[in-house]
């Protein structure tokens, strides 16, 4: 059996992200985390959204679905319920996951499927050349908000915690090693894991640069002990921005609660009905 390395999880295509894009760090960290978990090209499924993040689809050598914009989570839940032994990871963005797919995010968190979603959070829509995303800070000037964003931003962490996600963390694209370790822990967690990843957009965001983040980020020493404390930490933003695990809880997953999955994955079950007579009898 061939060993899994970050390089073996690379395709022959060269990334087309802007030089210096935060997506490079996330791409490297993801392959590093998957290799550390010994999840090889044939062993897992990655579901990508649409946005700059989604272009990673062509540069990771693993079973993939690139869903429609905003629809990663329903697609991933469907696949996971069919084959719950298969590791399923989601690469999504702030616009994809919290704008177009906001409702799916809340409901996925509520169900707690054993999925891990990595949100590339750069406050802008990069692929459409720089409009404000749902996480754009109020006052942030973009192509769609020339006077500065008038709305308050969505906080992915508080939304995830309040909606029922059982693992909620934040990483930074500028810290490949720290991010890789966080991604590994998130994938290992059994339940719905959300990792908000701060990702500088070097082309459309001249405010939130690597340097801007580096001056502010710090690592949480311990995991806050309950939801209220986790929410308090998750609301910290400004001069100091915490990274790490904000909330963790063990709960039965969406798949645990499906009695049909008790034995084998659905994909391995026979298609025939054992007691047809009994089934039809209810219509007599």
């Amino acid at each position: 059996m061939s060993t899994v390395t970050p390089d073996s999880l690379k395709t022959n295509f060269l990334p087309t992200w802007c030089p210096g894009c935060g997506d490079f760090g996330i791409w490297m960290a993801l392959r590093d985390a998957l290799a550390n978990l010994r999840i090889g090209s044939d062993d897992g499924l990655i579901v990508y959204g649409i946005g700059c993040h989604g272009n990673m689809h062509d540069w990771v050598n693993m079973y993939a679905i690139r869903a429609l914009h905003g629809r990663t989570l329903p697609v991933a839940q469907g696949a996971k319920l069919v084959n719950h032994k298969l590791p399923v990871v989601i690469i999504s963005g702030d616009g994809d996951c919290l704008g177009e797919g906001g409702n799916h995010f809340i409901h996925a968190a509520k169900r707690n499927p054993d999925l891990t979603v990595f949100i590339h959070n750069n406050e802008v829509y990069g692929l459409t050349t720089g409009q404000a995303s749902p996480t754009a800070q109020a006052g942030f000037k973009t192509k769609s908000t020339p006077e500065g964003a008038v709305d308050e931003p969505v906080n992915p962490l508080t939304l995830a915690i309040a909606s029922g996600a059982t693992f909620v963390a934040r990483g930074f694209a500028g810290d490949m090693q720290g991010l890789s370790a966080l991604m590994k822990t998130a994938i290992e967690h059994k339940g719905f894991s959300v990792v908000d990843i701060l990702q500088p957009c070097v082309t459309f965001d001249k405010v939130h640069t690597y340097q801007w983040y580096r001056q502010r980020v710090y690592k949480l020493e311990t995991i806050p002990e309950n939801k209220i404390k986790a929410l308090e930490k998750a609301m910290e933003w400004g001069d100091r921005i915490p990274l790490g695990v904000f909330y963790k809880e063990n709960k039965p997953t969406s798949e645990d609660r499906e009695s049909a999955l008790a034995d084998k994955p659905l994909v391995d079950l026979p298609l025939t009905i054992e007691n047809l007579e009994g089934l039809l009898n209810e219509f007599y």
Partner: protein, 570 residues
């Protein structure tokens, strides 16, 4: 009598629907052919609800308009249905609701006042059980033994405990003993085989699970809710997952995810829910994921009349989805096809790796029909289409999921987790492995690959069904559930000496243009019969054959066709 039509009306919450089911079973178990249609507003309590049951000694195809027995559980039920009565019809009502005299009706009806409330009051304080009295009265009038009703009541209430069964039996018996004479006594049934009573949604459900359905994500919506109940009730014993999604967008995307992961999956909805699924349909189209969509039509536009029937979405489902990709559309014409075309839909979806529609409607989905058990228990052939096998050798280690080297456009698929089956299911235009492409030549080839399937599908598409006389002076053209009322209308016309014929399309898309041209072009008088305002099948025929059908009988008031109406409109 060889056919009796019975109607019961009252407020929602009176157990009107349940009494229709129980009456159907009372007679179907004795070999009679039955059918029940419901009519109710979109609310839970109050309003005017009614259910109509037809019981006959021989097989029949639809409900008829003329009512023999009207049971009114409130004042409105008499007033609203007065005009459907014939000379000799019997009106059963509680004198507490109104003091009707025979002269109050246009036709020469007979009146049978039954003190429903007083009878129920002797046994319980719950006035809801008036429907049980009505059942007892009805079964007695029709001349059937009480034991037939009592076995159905026992089965119906078993789950609720012995007390409930006993009380219902006592009250039904009191109703049964009430009439002093019989009327509309049915002739003996020609019992041949065991009959079931099932609604359209349930028949789709049985078809789906027999075809090996493993995953369904369905957001509640009239008229497909009975399918949800059926799948949710059986998820455990049949080992399948029914998931209630947050919306229809999630529903179709879950189902596509499930399909890519390797099982047979489906969604079900109505027009408004399908509007939300349109984007996901296009996704299924480009990643070539098999998917079955039970699309239960109801009255639109928008929220429309949610609990009423229409055939307004044929052109919608043909054209739905951005971009060009193949699909198959089947429209069951009766309860048997609701089952059999659903089985076909799953096989076609896998064989061609396309979305397949089972286009049903409220009338078919929520009406109950008797059907021989054998129609649902025959052997089912399962064809999963072209699948990748881990043993198959791939050139340079790459599996070409979207191989262009296939004459029919269908390339084998693998499921995530299969060794050496790695591919990418990409919503972007993609190359043979599934990587994004914007190359002119690859885009053209990939688009043609998908559309080639339309040609390949033709060999599976069945020709329209022809019923009736080739010498006919009138040829009806129809699709979907309109078939039943037309067949019954044809019987009425035959009795008047008029020769008619029906050309009926259950396999609608890809449209069988050659067959249709052959069948339709020699006909001198074609009449298109549809439940919509614009004649959508007629447009489809015009588009694909050039044949213009000038005469149309269209109905779009939310109620199914009555055979009598079709005859009158000629």
């Amino acid at each position: 009598m060889d056919s009796v039509t019975w109607k019961i009306g009252g407020e929602a919450g009176f157990g009107i629907m349940a009494s229709g089911t129980m009456l159907c079973r009372t007679f179907s178990r004795a070999g009679y052919h039955v059918m029940a249609t419901n009519d109710y507003p979109s609310l839970i309590r109050g309003g005017h609800n009614f259910i109509t049951v037809r019981i006959a000694t021989e097989e029949f195809a639809s409900m008829n308009r003329d009512v023999h027995i009207l049971v009114a559980l409130n004042y409105e039920s008499v007033e609203k249905h007065k005009e459907e009565l014939m000379d000799g019809s019997l009106v059963i009502f509680d004198p507490k609701d109104g003091e009707w005299k025979e002269g109050d009706f246009q036709k020469k009806v007979k009146l049978l006042p039954v003190p429903f409330r007083e009878i129920v009051g002797k046994f319980t304080a719950d006035p809801v059980m008036r429907n049980t009295v009505a059942l007892g009265v009805t079964v007695a009038l029709l001349g059937a033994p009480f034991e037939r009703l009592s076995s159905v009541i026992t089965d119906q209430f078993k789950k609720k405990g012995e007390e409930v069964v006993k009380q219902n039996l006592t009250i039904a018996k009191a109703g049964y003993d009430f009439p002093s004479e019989k009327s509309f006594v049915l002739g003996p049934s020609k019992k041949k085989e065991r009959l079931l009573v099932i609604n359209g949604s349930e028949a789709v459900g049985v078809g789906a699970v027999r075809a090996g359905l493993k995953f369904a994500a369905i957001y509640p919506m009239t008229p497909i809710n009975a399918l949800i109940t059926f799948l949710a009730d059986h998820a455990k014993n049949l080992k399948l997952v029914y998931k209630q999604p947050e919306d229809e967008i999630a529903g179709i995307n879950m189902a596509v995810g499930a399909s890519i992961a390797g099982v047979r999956s489906m969604v079900a909805t109505s027009g408004g829910g399908f509007a939300l699924m349109v984007e996901g349909l296009s996704f299924a189209g480009v990643v070539e994921a098999p998917l079955v969509i039970d699309m239960g039509m109801r009255v639109g536009p928008a929220t429309g009349m949610p609990t009423y029937t229409e055939q307004g979405e044929l052109q919608f489902v043909i054209h739905a989805g951005h971009g060009e990709f193949p699909r198959i559309i089947l429209a069951p014409s009766d309860i048997g096809e609701a089952y059999s075309l659903t089985v076909d839909a799953f096989n076609l979806a896998d064989r061609y790796q396309v979305p397949v529609f089972v286009l049903t409607d409220k009338y078919l989905n929520e009406s109950q029909w008797s059907l021989p058990q054998s129609a649902l228990s025959g052997s089912v052939e399962i064809d999963r289409g072209k699948l990748f096998s881990s043993d198959s050798k791939n050139s340079n280690g790459e599996f070409k999921r979207y191989s262009l080297d296939v004459s029919d456009g269908i390339s084998p698929r693998s499921f995530p987790g299969m060794k050496k089956g790695l591919y990418h299911a990409d919503s972007y235009e993609h190359d043979e492995v599934g990587h994004v492409t914007e190359d002119t030549s690859m885009r053209t080839k990939m688009s043609l690959k998908r559309l080639k399937k339309l040609e390949a599908m033709k060999k599976d598409m069945k020709a329209p069904k022809i019923v009736g006389d080739s010498e006919a002076e009138i040829t009806f053209v129809s699709w979907g559930s309109s078939k039943g009322p037309i067949l019954e209308a044809m019987k009425l016309l035959a009795a008047k000496g008029k020769k008619t014929r029906l050309i009926h399309f259950s396999w609608l898309f890809p449209f069988p243009a050659e067959e249709a041209t052959k069948l339709l072009s020699p006909v001198t008088r074609l009449i298109d019969v549809e439940q919509n305002a614009t004649g959508q099948l007629a447009s489809l025929i015009r588009e694909h054959t050039g044949i213009l059908i000038k005469e149309k009988i269209l109905k779009f008031d939310g109620r199914p066709f009555y055979p009598e109406e079709i005859v009158e409109k000629l």
